[in-house]
């Protein structure tokens, strides 16, 4: 282990089956504070499923999940988010008719427990609106803040996925293919945004483009057929024979 830092998120032999298919197989992982980890693996390896298990969209068959030392295995999705564990989605999961400003303001209000207040206008929550706007500005969405989400270009919608997650003030941020569907030149810019996220947030991102993975990840977890094949530094992954076979072997030059 190169990292002696405090572990913020840990899973303990997490397993899940869909029928006979073992999609998650005794996965152990540990994310230190402020890390930038990549989760890679071929299509159908179970990456999204693993995130669904960690964030509570799916219930594991066995195993446990710890956030900052607390067992959160039985908690609801929203309770995990409020505890600081947030994700984004591989396929846009946004609010089409809300503007980014409204959507992010909503996330801020939810975090502060103000979203149930029906007796004063939204404009009374000035601090939340300002924070939402600053969040949008910080990832380059200021100019799009008041346009309905459905009218935004796809790349900006991907950024909004991240902005919504940031508004929950996560300790751990799990990004499921943040650049999915984004042209290659744009996806580098998108990852610059991710690299610039506050340094105390632990980030685990899924990404298929190995150039990006090697550039932005300090450590890489390789998932194959639901199990962790290898967890290592980029250099080691680059040269590992098994990884070459299952993953890089498909004509990818490193």
């Amino acid at each position: 282990m190169t990292d002696q830092k405090e572990i913020v998120l840990r899973t303990d032999s997490l397993s899940k089956k869909f029928g006979a298919l073992q999609v998650t197989n005794a996965v152990r992982l540990a994310l230190p504070r402020g890390c930038r980890y990549a989760l890679i693996g071929p299509n159908g390896a179970g990456k999204t499923t693993l995130i669904n298990l960690i964030t509570g969209q799916l219930k594991p068959d066995s195993g446990s999940i710890f956030l900052g030392g607390d067992d959160i295995t039985g908690k609801s999705v929203s309770a995990r988010v409020r505890a600081g564990l947030t994700r984004t989605f591989q396929i846009n999961t946004l609010f089409p008719d809300l503007t980014p400003l409204e959507a992010v303001t909503l996330a801020v209000c939810e975090r502060e427990g103000k979203a149930g207040q029906f007796w004063q206008p939204l404009s009374a929550h000035g601090a939340a609106i300002d924070e939402a706007f600053e969040t949008l500005k910080s990832i380059g969405l200021a100019a799009a803040a008041t346009r309905p989400t459905r009218t935004l270009p796809y790349g900006q919608q991907r950024l909004l996925e991240i902005a919504l997650a940031l508004a929950t003030k996560p300790r751990v941020l799990l990004l499921d293919e943040p650049a999915a569907g984004v042209p290659k030149d744009e996806s580098a810019a998108l990852f610059e945004v991710i690299a610039a996220l506050p340094s105390d947030i632990s980030v685990l991102f899924i990404e298929h483009d190995m150039d990006i993975v090697f550039k932005f990840a300090s450590r890489i977890i390789v998932l194959v057929a639901g199990g962790v094949l290898l967890e290592a530094d980029p250099e080691e992954v680059r040269t590992d024979q098994r990884v070459r076979e299952v993953y890089l072997g498909k004509g990818h030059h490193v």
């Binding site: 964030t55 509570g56 609801s76 999705v77 929203s78 988010v81 409020r82 947030t86 994700r87 989605f89 999961t93 946004l94 609010f95 089409p96 008719d97 809300l98 503007t99 400003l101 409204e102 959507a103 303001t105 909503l106 996330a107 209000c109 939810e110 975090r111 103000k114 979203a115 149930g116 207040q117 029906f118 007796w119 004063q120 206008p121 939204l122 404009s123 929550h125 000035g126 939340a128 609106i129 300002d130 939402a132 706007f133 600053e134 200021a142 100019a143 803040a145 008041t146 346009r147 309905p148 919504l164 997650a165 508004a167 929950t168």
Partner: protein, 333 residues
């Protein structure tokens, strides 16, 4: 509509933009002033106007859950009827003061709404329709079976409501009735308007837009849904109480499935998710019924059905949605 904002947007414009979304437009003021016209122009239609105000309040209560939170219901007459019976029974017990009666009915319907909300928030789509329909039918049959209390199919005669503020007597022509129902509608509208423009209203739109994302931004959205369902049930109860107090009769039809369905028709005609659709829909529906029933008492619903189909096919956002699109197009030209 033209919502473009310059690229050098800053925090101030963000705040202002959000504020602008809830500003009163001149159309709204004209609209409410126009609702006073029956007093002067059509005094013979005041009883109809009261019926419209009551139906509009009921439709408004449904718009809060259907138009804003995306909860489809086929049983909301349940709360309308509970409110009507609550007010009627309180009056029969010897207390005919209108405002406390109204409050009593609203609280009672809201309480039942809160209890049933635990069931409502757990289901969606067809299951939700069936649960709301089932609860509505159940309540109707219960009221029928408890005829010692509800008067069963004969209905209840409600003692005459006392003057409002001990001053405004309920007159035969319906001046007080319309003033009263319109005032309650207006107050509930103001509260609804505040609600939909609040952070809570934003959360409801979030639920309607993408319920799957809500937990992922940390929202306990079931609680939001329970809250709006309770508020909506209370408001439907107020509408039912107004009917009992202004017409002095309550029959089982206050709980009927037809009432639950009609209110949805009104909303779809007017346009959901914009509050005014409830009022416009109620006006169109009840005026059409009044006029058409005069021409052809048996087949008036045929025309409503036709109108409904035309609106759904050609104005998917209701008549108000259609008008605002026309206005928006003109703005942009």
């Amino acid at each position: 509509m033209n919502q473009a904002m310059s690229a050098n947007a800053n925090v101030d414009t963000a705040r202002q933009w959000l504020k602008r979304q809830s500003r009163w437009s001149p159309f709204e003021i004209v609209f409410w002033l126009a609702l006073l016209l029956p007093f002067f122009l059509f005094p013979t239609y005041l009883p109809l106007a009261s019926q419209i105000a009551i139906a509009a309040l009921f439709a408004l209560s449904v718009d809060l859950i259907l138009g804003y939170a995306g909860i489809i219901t086929l049983g909301h007459a349940m709360f309308f009827g509970l409110g009507a019976y609550a007010a009627a029974l309180l009056a029969k017990a010897g207390w005919s003061e209108p405002l406390t009666g109204l409050l009593f009915a609203g609280v009672f319907a809201g309480l039942i709404g809160f209890i049933t909300s635990f069931m409502i928030v757990r289901v969606q789509h067809l299951a939700l329709l069936m649960i709301t329909l089932g609860l509505g039918v159940l309540t109707l049959e219960l009221a029928n079976a408890m005829s010692w209390l509800t008067g069963g199919t004969d209905g209840l005669r409600v003692p005459r409501t006392w003057p409002i503020f001990n001053y405004f007597r309920f007159d035969l022509w319906g001046y007080t009735s319309y003033g009263y129902t319109l005032a309650v509608l207006f107050i509930c509208f103001l509260l609804s308007r505040l609600l939909v423009n609040s952070s809570f209203g934003l959360a409801l739109r979030g639920i309607r837009e993408n319920v799957k994302r809500m937990p992922a931004i940390g929202s306990d959205h079931h609680r939001h849904l329970q809250k709006i369902y309770t508020i909506s049930a209370a408001m439907a109860g107020l509408a039912g109480a107004l009917l009992a107090q202004t017409t002095s009769t309550v029959a089982l039809d206050v709980l009927s499935f037809t009432r639950s369905a009609d209110v949805i028709v009104m909303l779809v005609l007017g346009g959901t998710g914009r509050l005014y659709g409830a009022i416009v829909g109620a006006i169109i529906f009840l005026v059409a019924r009044d006029q058409l029933a005069g021409i052809n008492p048996q087949y008036w619903y045929f025309w409503i059905g036709l109108l409904l189909m035309v609106v759904v096919l050609f104005m998917p956002k209701g008549i108000l949605g259609f008008l605002s699109r026309l206005a928006g197009r003109r703005d942009n030209d």
